[in-house]
């Protein structure tokens, strides 16, 4: 079978389902809107309250990553509505090809939107900060922009892998969102060292100008990539073995 044809088909699937297209666009919209809102209203000193102007610029990633997770989850869960996967696998019966194409389309879409979002947010946010603004020349700024895009794509893929495993976006979202919103903060305060290796915390090191602790900016992103790889492998095992 033609790989490009299958990729094209998967792309049509993503953009023709409102939930997945909507959450993909929400990554961009949420990050930009919240950054502008916060930077326009909050006292400037608070933006830099931990003295890291680069991390301050990416404050809104907490919201954007939820949209990214929703995108990864819904892009996959549309296959589990009714017997949709049966139709999909009748058209593309080589499950490896199907899985790789679906994953690649989610990855490419999330990475494009993630990078666009990261740079757009950085520039738009800094434009509001006047003389305290930083440019891409600021140490760590370019790294953080690229890293934020990759991070968002990894979170989308993490959710996609889990959704293949659990077959439900609802299950994945109700697992991941509380985890990210609550657990990370709690564990982060209690046991600093271990929290550095959680999928979201690890990857966010790349957003700091000077990451503290044992995990560096790129190694942190690599840790998130390992989590993502594990989720995708688990998802693949489920797709390969299951009857549909």
């Amino acid at each position: 079978m033609s790989v490009t044809a299958v990729l094209h088909s998967e792309w049509i699937k993503v953009r023709s389902v409102r939930a997945s297209l909507g959450s993909l666009l929400a990554v961009f919209a949420a990050m930009l809107a919240i950054t502008l809102l916060v930077f326009a209203t909050v006292d400037r000193a608070e933006v830099y309250n931990d003295g890291d102007p680069v991390f301050g610029a990416f404050y809104a990633i907490n919201f954007a990553q939820i949209a990214a997770i929703a995108f990864g989850a819904t892009a996959v869960s549309s296959e589990y509505a009714g017997g949709a996967l049966r139709i999909s696998l009748s058209a593309v019966p080589q499950r490896g090809l199907f899985y790789a194409a679906k994953t690649a389309v989610v990855a490419a879409a999330a990475l494009c939107v993630g990078l666009t979002t990261a740079f757009a947010t950085f520039f738009a946010g800094q434009a509001l900060l006047g003389e305290e603004a930083i440019g891409l020349g600021e140490p760590g700024a370019l790294r953080a922009c690229v890293g934020a895009g990759i991070y968002l794509a990894l979170m989308a893929l993490f959710a996609a892998g889990l959704t293949f495993l659990l077959r439900s976006a609802t299950a994945v979202l109700s697992l991941l969102i509380p985890f990210i919103l609550i657990m990370s903060f709690m564990i982060g305060d209690i046991a600093g060292g271990a929290a550095d290796y959680l999928p979201d915390h690890a990857g966010q090191h790349v957003l700091h100008q000077d990451p503290e602790g044992a995990v560096g900016p790129w190694t942190g992103l690599a840790v998130t990539a390992l989590w993502t790889a594990a989720a995708l492998l688990a998802g693949w095992e489920a797709v390969r073995r299951r009857d549909v």
Binding site: S9, I12, S16, G83, P93
Partner: protein, 313 residues
């Protein structure tokens, strides 16, 4: 010419054996009705043929090749499994486009099959707004998309209105006339009788019959003749003397069991009894099917039960 070959196919779930050493061959150029009660294993067999379920043992191939090894399979095989399977949030056209693109089927085919199934006017509506009948038509459109030589349709007449049922009947006949292999599962006997040439009957996952429909009806139904005569008493006595069972007869009409019209007509002529009406009763597929399943009831009851129940004994 592509046929479906099923060889010694078995599918076990945790507690049940859904398909039990099934061997059959679905030939091209005719409509094969796939019959059996709910849970007989019809849908499971179809999923196994499509490579969606993994068989416990045995093989199912299409034109000698397992489905997953087909290049661009929608061009060879079209399947309708579940009309609810299309994602409600997509439009009908987008649904068909996803499928067409993956198998490099030209985009105009999507419009052609929408036209053919009477969905052209709702092509851009979201599938969740469709009635069951419209979803069924969309499923048939998807099956026809790649102009396949093999079609597997699971209960295609479900939810169709009377016009839709006439339409699907003609469609199935035409597809078979064009030399395609058409397998249609159903539990509606009278409906199946209107389009099937050949029958494969399952019960409890096992093959009960694999036979031409006319032969099946002849095999599993009693010959029976309706007679009207001017001289009922003499006819009755004569027929009883020849060993036929006769019922009714007060108003000159009676029913003779165990013989065809030629035999009864010949007997009456020889005796010079005037016959006013003489007609073979045409047994229905439903009667034949029920006769077969009654014959096999004992056999079905003797089939191994689930491991759980046997442990509990």
């Amino acid at each position: 010419m592509t046929s479906i070959e099923v060889t010694d196919l078995t599918k076990e779930y945790r507690t049940t054996r859904a398909v039990d050493r099934l061997t059959c061959r679905i030939e091209p150029g005719r409509v094969t009705g796939f019959l059996g009660p709910n849970g007989a294993g019809k849908s499971t067999t179809m999923r196994l043929v499509l490579g969606l379920d993994h068989p416990t043992s045995g093989t199912a191939t299409i034109g000698g090749r397992p489905y997953p090894t087909l290049r661009e399979p929608l061009r060879t095989v079209g399947a309708l499994l579940d009309p609810q399977a299309a994602h409600g949030s997509r439009t009908a056209r987008d649904h068909l486009r996803c499928l067409a693109v993956s198998n490099r089927i030209p985009g105009r085919r999507a419009d052609e099959v929408l036209q053919e199934t009477g969905l052209a006017t709702v092509a851009h509506r979201r599938i969740r707004t469709f009635s069951l009948g419209m979803r069924q038509r969309l499923g048939i459109a998807a099956a026809l998309l790649g102009d396949p030589s093999v079609l597997l349709l699971d209960e295609p007449a479900n939810g169709l209105d009377p016009e839709g049922i006439v339409w699907i009947r003609q469609l199935l006949r035409r597809l078979a006339r064009e030399g395609r292999t058409v397998l249609v599962s159903s539990h509606l006997m009278n409906e199946t009788a209107t389009f099937a040439d050949h029958l494969v009957v399952l019960a409890g996952g096992r093959l009960l019959a694999d036979v031409a429909m006319r032969a099946f009806i002849a095999q599993h139904s009693q010959a029976r003749v309706h007679v009207r005569t001017g001289d009922p008493d003499r006819l009755r006595t004569t027929l009883l003397a020849h060993g036929y069972a006769v019922t009714g007869g007060d108003d000159g009409r009676c029913v003779v069991e165990g013989a065809g019209a030629e035999r009864i007509g010949a007997v009456a002529a020889r005796e010079g009894i005037p016959l006013l009406e003489l007609a073979d009763e045409r047994a229905s597929l439903e009667q034949a099917y029920l006769a077969l399943t009654a014959d096999k009831a004992e056999f079905a009851a003797a089939a191994p039960a689930s491991p759980n129940t046997s442990q509990e004994v």
